[in-house]
Symmetry: C2
Subunit: 228 residues, 2 copies
C-alpha cells in the first residue's frame, strides 16, 4: 500500500499516456495524489519532479501541475572520450599528432571563444585511429594561458585526454552537423573530397578563461545514437 517513487512515476506516466490526464490538463495536487497512493507527499514530489525535468510535466507554484502540451522530448547523449569509445568496441586505439603550431585562429574561432582576433593560440591537428584505420580528424585550438609552464607532450597524450584529466571545466557547448569533407580532411581520413562527414564542434571554458575549441570530423559510417 506504499508504492515507491518509481512506481508512482510509472503510474503517472501511464495516466498521461492513456490520456486519463490529457495533454495540457491539470493533474491533482501532490497532497491529493499522496492520499490516493497512500504515501507521503515527499514521495509524490520526487516522482513528479523527475517527470517535470524529463519534460513530461510542467509545474508552477500555486498554479499546479499540468501535462506538457507539446512534449518536447529530451534525449541525453553521452559524449565519451575517444579512446574509451574505440576500446569499448574492442578495437585498438591510437592517434597521430599531425601538426602543431602557434598562430592566430580564424576569426570565427576567436569569436566563439570570446577572444580578440589576433591572439595566438596553439593549433593542433590530430588523427585518431581505431584498429589502424582513420576514425576521426581533430582540429583543435587551445588557449596557451591555461597550460602549465612545461607544455605537455601532445604526441604522447592526446590533448583531449590531457584536458579532461587536468583542466577544470565549467561550461561549454556542443553542436553537430554534416559537412562535405575538405581536401585536408579527405586526405587524412582517406575518403574522397566532398564526402559527407559527421561533424562535432565543441567549445569549452573554465571559470574565467576560454579553454579550447575543437572540431571533430568523423569517418563515414559514424552514428551518434541514444534512447529516448
Amino acid at each position: 500500500m506504499a508504492p515507491g517513487w518509481e512506481a508512482i512515476r510509472a503510474e503517472v506516466m501511464n495516466r498521461i499516456r492513456s490520456r486519463v490526464w490529457p495533454p495540457g490538463g491539470l493533474i491533482p495536487s501532490e497532497e491529493t495524489l499522496a492520499a490516493e497512493f497512500g504515501c507521503a507527499r515527499a514521495t509524490v514530489n520526487r516522482a513528479l519532479t523527475e517527470l517535470a525535468t524529463a519534460g513530461l510535466l510542467e509545474r508552477k507554484r500555486k498554479a499546479g501541475t499540468r501535462v506538457a502540451a507539446l512534449p518536447v522530448r529530451k534525449a541525453t547523449l553521452d559524449i565519451p572520450v575517444i579512446r574509451a569509445e574505440v576500446t569499448a568496441r574492442g578495437q585498438a586505439y591510437s592517434f597521430v599528432l599531425m601538426s602543431r603550431d602557434l598562430t592566430a585562429p580564424p576569426t570565427g574561432v576567436a569569436a566563439r571563444l570570446g577572444l580578440a582576433s589576433g591572439v595566438p593560440l596553439i593549433h593542433l591537428q590530430t588523427l585518431h585511429l581505431a584498429g589502424g584505420l582513420p576514425q576521426i580528424f581533430e582540429d583543435r585550438w587551445l588557449n596557451p594561458a591555461i597550460l602549465p609552464q612545461h607544455e605537455p607532450d601532445f604526441t604522447a597524450i592526446s590533448a583531449n585526454e590531457w584536458l579532461v584529466a587536468n583542466i577544470a571545466f565549467s561550461t561549454g557547448d556542443i553542436a553537430f552537423s554534416a559537412e562535405a569533407a575538405s581536401p585536408a580532411e579527405a586526405a587524412a581520413l582517406s575518403v574522397s573530397p566532398g564526402a559527407a562527414l559527421f561533424i562535432t564542434e565543441r567549445c569549452t571554458w573554465s571559470a574565467h578563461a576560454p579553454i579550447t575549441w575543437v572540431r571533430l570530423a568523423h569517418a563515414p559510417g559514424y552514428r551518434l545514437q541514444t534512447l529516448l
Copy 2:
C-alpha cells in the same frame, strides 16, 4: 548556516573542478558532509544524486561516492516538433505530403521495428518548408494497426504532429549521422546529389506495438546544438 541543496551541489562541483577531490577519488560520506555543511543528510543526498545522474559522480552503496574518473559528459538535446522549431526562428512553416502508399518496407526498416518483413506499412514522404524554402525531407513508415478507423488526413496535419498529439508513446531511440544526398533527397531539398546531409533517424514503440520509423534529411546548414 544551512545551505540549500543547490549551494551544496555548487560547492561539490567546485571541489571536483579545483581537484580538492581528484578524479577517481573517494569523497566523504553523506553524513560527514552533512555535518560539515550543517544540514541534514537528505539535503546532501539530493545534491549528490543530481551530480551522479549528471555523470560527475559515481555512487555505490557501501563503497561510497567517488569522482568520475572519465567524466562522460552528458548533453541533453531537445527534440522539438518541426513546426515549433521553425516558428521559433520566426519563419513560416508549411509542409507538403509528396507521396503516400501502403507497401512492405525495406527489410532494414522492418527489422528495426521488430516486424516480419513483408508486413505492409503506410509509407509517407513529406517535405517540410521554412519560409517557403525546403528544410527537411521526411521519409516515414507508419504501422497502420495503431491508427483509428478513419485514417487521419496527413495532407492537413503532419504525421509527426498527429502522432505526438494522439498516440501513447513508451520507448524509442534516435540516431544522428551524415549521409550523401540521394537523388530523390537532392531533388526534394534542391541541393546537388551527393551533398552532405544531416540525418536524424528515429524509431518509436508504444507499449506493445511498433509505431513508426522515420528518417529526416536536413537541408545543408542544419546544426543540432546544446549546452554542456
